[in-house]
């Protein structure tokens, strides 16, 4: 990771954080809102490893909590997403060129974060409806996989464009 790549990481996450509530949420698609933030985070973690994954997770969580209309307890999403980004980063060490792999991982991460959020919502007093949960769970994974089709290659390209770096240096922060 060089400076430009960190810059690209921050910019891509900020763009996703702006698009999430103003574009994807306003499309009123059936089921859940497509979670572009999770897909961007997963792509960076998959490409660059646990350290970058954790940083991307922290930044994503911070923006979720702090940008309007986010009204959560500040820092709570950062905790979950830092850990999620860190763990996803470990999957990067198994470098495979499979096209489907990032899609499946994105969908699973989106689903895991959705479950975490649901549990958190229940703790803070929301009611649980199996119907809504099931529909949102399925669509959440589906939308994340669809988004990953475009976002994972785009971020991979960005990463390549911003300069080759040896594998040994990659893991360094």
């Amino acid at each position: 990771m060089n400076v430009y790549k960190y810059f690209a990481l921050v910019i891509s996450i900020v763009i996703a954080a702006v698009l999430q509530p103003t574009f994807f949420a306003k499309l009123f698609l059936p089921g859940a809102t497509p979670d572009i933030l999770i897909v961007v985070l997963t792509s960076w973690a998959l490409l660059k490893g646990p350290a970058v994954g954790a940083i991307a997770g922290f930044l994503t969580g911070f923006l979720i909590d702090v940008l309007p209309p986010g009204d959560h307890l500040m820092g709570i999403s950062s905790i979950f997403l830092t850990i999620i980004g860190y763990l996803v980063g470990y999957l990067s060490q198994n470098q495979s060129r499979s096209f489907v792999r990032p899609l499946v991982i994105s969908a699973s991460v989106a689903n895991v974060f959705f479950i975490v959020r649901s549990i958190w919502a229940n703790i803070s007093g929301a009611e649980f409806s199996l119907n809504i949960f099931a529909v949102n769970f399925l669509t959440q994974g589906l939308y994340a996989a669809l988004l990953a089709v475009f976002i994972y290659p785009a971020i991979g390209l960005l990463d390549k464009k911003l300069g080759p770096i040896s594998r040994a240096e990659e893991l360094r922060v």
Partner: protein
């Protein structure tokens, strides 16, 4: 290995930072540093959010027009160009007409209730739409908005403002689990609280009086807070859809379906000044079947003649 030590350090620092935010917010209960951080980011980001939201709207309009173009293609060729123009106009005017109707309804509600309102567009919808029920609207401090003001549409209550930046504010919707609204049954005087359940089309109405009578189809209005904050009196909230039997409990509760569709909001308005006279039940939509029983004397707060 050095790498893994560094990795662990990064993780530890980030987690520590997150926990610090949580602790700070809990300690200052949403004021102080975290509040100013929120205000700062809101001021920076809301112009960007607004233009992104406008972009979304134009895309939606365009895609509407686009589907219409595609159906027109199958028709006779020389009609095509004319058709295209006409349909485009139609799509545009339909959207305008819909908005005009929404504004009309708003003005009517505000007119009968004599609320002073500021109309607003929804620019962002809670990122975790599944459970967190918040929206951002495009009016803020410079439009005279402060926290704890009532937000409504032509159909009824939407929620209240919870944080305000220069030109945008965040609204907690009725459905948010943390939301609580003082309410009474229209036509009777029975008081209670409407609480969010985290589900879009169901609210929970809790009556203070365990032996009070409540029926399916009863309509609920706001009861009004002191000085009209956070809720002005007389705004329609919703209709009772089922009653929960709760033997042994001190309160009685019912399920209420809100009049406003909380998951597809577009135009809303913020009440900046409360009515001089409590509008009571005058804002409720006409009763469907039987007329509501004659209003009895109730204990809702008497309107204060606010001559300043």
């Amino acid at each position: 290995m050095r790498d893994s030590t560094r990795l662990r350090t990064v993780l530890a620092v980030l987690l520590l930072l997150s926990f610090t935010f949580v602790a700070l917010e809990l300690r200052t209960s949403g004021s102080g540093l975290t509040k100013s951080l929120r205000e700062f980011t809101a001021n920076v980001i809301s112009p960007i959010q607004e233009s992104s939201s406008n972009f979304t709207n134009s895309i939606k309009n365009f895609s509407n027009t686009w589907t219409e173009i595609r159906t027109a293609r199958s028709q006779v060729k020389d009609l095509q160009s004319e058709n295209l123009l006409l349909k485009e106009e139609l799509a545009k005017s339909e959207e305008n007409r819909r908005r005009a109707a929404e504004l009309d309804a708003l003005l009517k509600l505000a007119g009968i209730g004599t609320y002073e309102i500021v109309p607003a567009k929804v620019i962002a919808i809670g990122s975790a739409q599944d459970y967190s029920w918040t929206i951002t609207i495009d009016v803020g401090q410079i439009d005279g908005i402060t926290t704890d003001m009532t937000v409504l549409t032509g159909q009824g209550l939407v929620g209240r403002t919870v944080s305000v930046a220069n030109s945008s504010s965040t609204v907690a919707l009725l459905a948010d689990p943390s939301s609580k609204v003082g309410a009474r049954i229209g036509g009777k005087g029975e008081l209670g609280f409407i609480g969010g359940t985290g589900l879009p089309s169901e609210l929970e109405f809790e009556l203070f009086d365990p032996i009070a009578e409540i029926n399916k189809g009863d309509r609920i209005v706001t009861w009004g807070s002191e000085n009209g904050r956070p809720f002005v009196p007389g705004v329609p909230i919703g209709e009772v859809i089922s009653i929960k039997s709760s033997p042994g409990l001190l309160t009685k509760s019912a399920r209420v379906k809100p009049y406003v569709n909380l998951s597809t909001l577009d135009l809303v308005s913020v009440v900046v000044e409360q009515p001089r006279i409590d509008p009571r039940d005058s804002l409720l939509p006409p009763a469907p079947v039987t007329p509501t029983p004659s209003p009895s004397i109730s204990i809702s707060p008497s309107p204060s003649p606010s001559v300043e």
